[in-house]
Amino acid sequence: MSVVTREYFEALADAVCAEARAGERSSVLLKAEASDFIRFNRAAVRQATQVQQAHATVALTQGLRRAEGRVALSGQREADLALLRTELASLRALLPELSDDPWLLLPEAPVRSERHDRGALPTAAQVVGTVTEAARGLDFVGFHASGPMVRAFADSLGTRHWHHVESFHTDWCLYHAADKAVKTSYAGAKWSDGSFAARVAQSAQQLTLLARTPKVLQPGAYRAWLAPAAMAELLGTLGWGGFGLKARRTGTSSLMRLAHRDAVLSPQFHLFEHTAMGSAPGFTAEGFARPAKVSLVERGLATGTLNSPRSAREYGAEANGASPWEMPESLSLLPGTIRDAEAMKALGTGLWVSNLWYLNYSDRQACRMTGMTRFACLWVEDGEPVAPLGVMRFDDSFLRMFGEGLVGLGDRAEFIPENGTYEERHLGSLSTPGALVDGWRLTL
């Protein structure tokens, strides 16, 4: 039986929920996918893998005691049901060993949600043929992931969530030489050979500029246009401990200065966890329904936080759909007024930063980040691209860059689906415009 069908999940859900005894709550979270993974190097295939996987996390709760077990499922229904029942029995045997957990918080009323997106996905052979043909003669290195994915939850209280998507994500670089490349992606639910080939051809046209002699920059402060892909790296780093309730209450958040009004961002800066517009499931691993939108920053001022159930209970706040790590999964920065088509003109003379790479906090308390430029970053003079840049390290405060340093935001927010594949294909997304900043600090 396929591990990505509703029928299979309902069988698991019924079995797990039926196991709950008086005074107990049982639940099951299913994560399943059937994925083609094909990686390319130099316009040929490096590795091709087909993965069918399903993991169920079952939880058993008695009062304030709870234990969780995750098992790999085979797709053989009766064998899997037996496995889950055995795991629940093991968890039941553990509960007497535990103490009450005063910060345990679970949904109090049953909720139901459903999302089922169908796609038209290519076969592996089709992708291999299309890519090798479109990339002929190019130094193409890239990755294609495709197939159905399921996230589903059920508990003995009556909650049922079902999230099924069929999607692909293909991203690639066309290399000129060394570290000079144009990065492009093509993602969605309905694959088109023609659309893919057109994008490859379009990105190939940009290689000409990369063939020019690179401009070597000295450390210093520069005016810079940060393209949406670069913004996604900055915002993603900010999400790493910036917005969580626990991080705020323990003083470890990178946005403590913003939260305390010791610093403000530009009034143009409005940031939300916007689940309704994202691609992450609308429910949590504990079965909570996520609110459509959580305000994080408005008019440059800190507004809300991401509250996991555990933090909510500990600190006496409302849970608002956050994971235990309290990191955003559907971050959305509202666009501004700089017309995208005129971004280079608005930049004038400075850096066109297409991509950033390997960001980290260099001083978390000051919200100072460091990272590298990557791929097709350009030197621009009087609104015209002049030369590619050698890679440079930046080290600058996010609060400065998007406070006094923010000139403006692009008028079009780009939707960037999460393409991570650690353990499983990820489902988050981020929406952001480009940004024009002054005084961006390069250090090495």
């Binding site: 130099r42 077990g69 992931a145 570290d179 323990t250 403590m256 308390q365 890679v391």
Partner: protein
């Protein structure tokens, strides 16, 4: 599971193509206590197989957790279909790959398996360690955790290869956060993302001195919160093993991965400043630099007898007296690279994150060999410098060259003596020149076995466990960056 799979593989594996079957069965338990409150225990049992089929000029892989005869037969059929889809369009010809006919077994050393102690005792230990960090009301957060993993792997090949390996891994962790007059500082036992992880059972906790770590990290967190920021400028740095592990990892390990050098990772993890022509003569560091690939240490995280392509693993120097000798490349990459450098030698270090990922070139245990200097001698030799411990921030370019690393804890060295503790110490450099500034290498008394459970790479992405052992090392004239640089 293992006997069952051998029997089934004999029935359903193709008899007209080369194939492999790699089965992984991994159980783990994560226990966590924060503010002395135990969170829900999390158990995991993850078992499945990855099969590969080489046929008609293609190589395909397929993964499944369906370990029935029908499930394995289906996986072999999917792998064969994938091989057909890519046939003649690969960057290598699967027919060129070496045979994997080794047979053998590895049993990781474990004296006292973690699950031999009752759950209640394990939780109580964590609660005690966490509680010992509650030394002062200015400690605003404290957390202790224990991750225990038992993993088994069986690799069968069409050439008659059979390797069976078993590991026990234990990862203790404790950290405390202090807040003093508007300054917040977190100190951890060996890194907030786990730097002390070794093979073994409960004995690993003793090697980590876990019982006393709560009080230590709390005291040091308070000390840091009251310390001045690290000053910036050019000076010597003395890096202790729990920072050296990160320095080795990012600026030796990743650049030496052969698949990076061959360009496979350019779309994601990046390329390398190292090129094939450098092996054999390139001065990677000073003459004091000796770097080993060492899968033989029983306590280190990534010790094994065979890599995940079935090749035998032996201790090998990758950099000797500063000269670059070998890359980190397994059989597939090596067969490709030898078209360009026929004399190139690799090491057996193709590894996969689990049953649902195919192997790629990875680090395993990558160590710096001890030198001859005592810690006191190194400190005495420094006119102005900073001793740094415990990585907290890491960033490096996609060629693994320009880096900036930050540490949890720093202590100034002035005129050959240890001076004040400083917070937020960091430094910048360029890999291609940094290792040439290696001025002194600590002796065996400064040597510690560290590791990370979170080395990420690959498309699809894989996170694996890597070991790094190192002595303390002194580097001259480094660009130090402080908390307010």
């Amino acid at each position: 599971m293992i006997d069952h799979l051998e029997t089934l593989a004999a029935r359903v594996a193709p008899d007209d193509a080369r194939w492999t079957l790699r089965a992984v069965d991994e159980t783990s338990e994560t226990l966590s206590v924060r503010q002395d409150v135990a969170e829900s225990p999390q158990r995991s049992r993850d078992a499945g197989v990855m099969v590969s089929v080489a046929a008609g000029g293609g190589l395909g892989h397929a993964a499944t957790a369906d370990l029935s005869e029908a499930g394995l037969a289906d996986a072999f059929a999917r792998a064969r279909a994938m091989a057909a889809a890519v046939a003649g369009r690969m960057v290598f010809d699967p027919a060129d790959l070496p045979a994997a006919a080794e047979r053998g077994r590895y049993d990781g050393t474990v004296q006292r398996p973690v699950n031999g102690a009752p759950l209640r005792e394990r939780l109580e230990l964590l609660r005690e360690v966490c509680a010992t960090a509650a030394t002062d009301e200015r400690i605003v957060d404290r957390h202790a955790s224990l991750l225990a993993v038992q993993a088994s792997q069986l690799l069968l090949t069409s050439e008659g290869g059979r390797t069976e390996q078993h590991w026990h891994v234990t990862m203790p962790h404790v950290q405390a956060t202090a807040h003093v007059d508007g300054v917040t500082q977190t100190r951890s036992s060996a890194g907030q993302y786990n730097g002390f992880c070794q093979q073994g059972g409960l004995e690993v906790l003793e090697r980590a001195r876990f019982g006393g770590e709560g009080a230590r990290v709390a005291a040091e967190a308070l000390e840091l919160a009251m310390a001045p920021p690290c000053p910036g400028g050019e000076m010597d740095v003395l890096l202790m093993p729990d920072q050296m592990m990160l320095q080795i990892h990012e600026s030796i390990g990743h650049p030496l991965e052969l698949d990076r050098i061959l360009g496979d990772e350019r779309n994601f993890a990046g390329t390398s400043f190292v090129t094939l022509d450098m092996f054999g003569h390139y001065a990677y560091g000073s003459e004091l630099l000796n770097v080993s690939y060492d899968p033989t240490r029983s306590d280190e995280l990534a010790s094994f007898h065979f890599d995940d392509e079935g090749q035998p693993a032996r201790r090998t120097l990758l950099i000797e007296n500063g000269i670059l000798k070998r890359p980190l490349g397994g059989a597939v990459s090596l067969s490709r690279a030898r078209r360009l450098r026929p004399d190139l030698e690799g090491v057996a270090t193709s590894r996969a994150a689990g049953w649902n990922r195919a192997p790629i070139d990875r680090m395993s245990n990558l160590n710096i060999e001890p030198g001859r200097s005592t810690l006191d001698e190194m400190i005495a030799s420094i006119e102005l410098g900073v001793m740094m411990r415990t990585n907290v921030s890491w960033s490096i370019d996609d060629s693994r060259n320009k880096f900036q690393f930050g540490c949890e804890w720093g202590r100034m060295i002035r005129k050959g003596r240890l001076a004040e503790v400083v917070r937020d110490p960091g430094y910048r450099g360029i890999s291609a020149t940094f290792w040439r500034s290696l001025a002194m290498v600590g002796d065996a008394s400064t040597f510690e076995v560290m590791g990370t459970p979170n080395c990420g790479k690959g498309e699809p992405s894989q996170v694996i466990r890597v070991g790094h052992a190192s002595p303390a090392c002194k580097f001259s004239r480094v660009a130090v960056v402080g908390g307010h640089a």
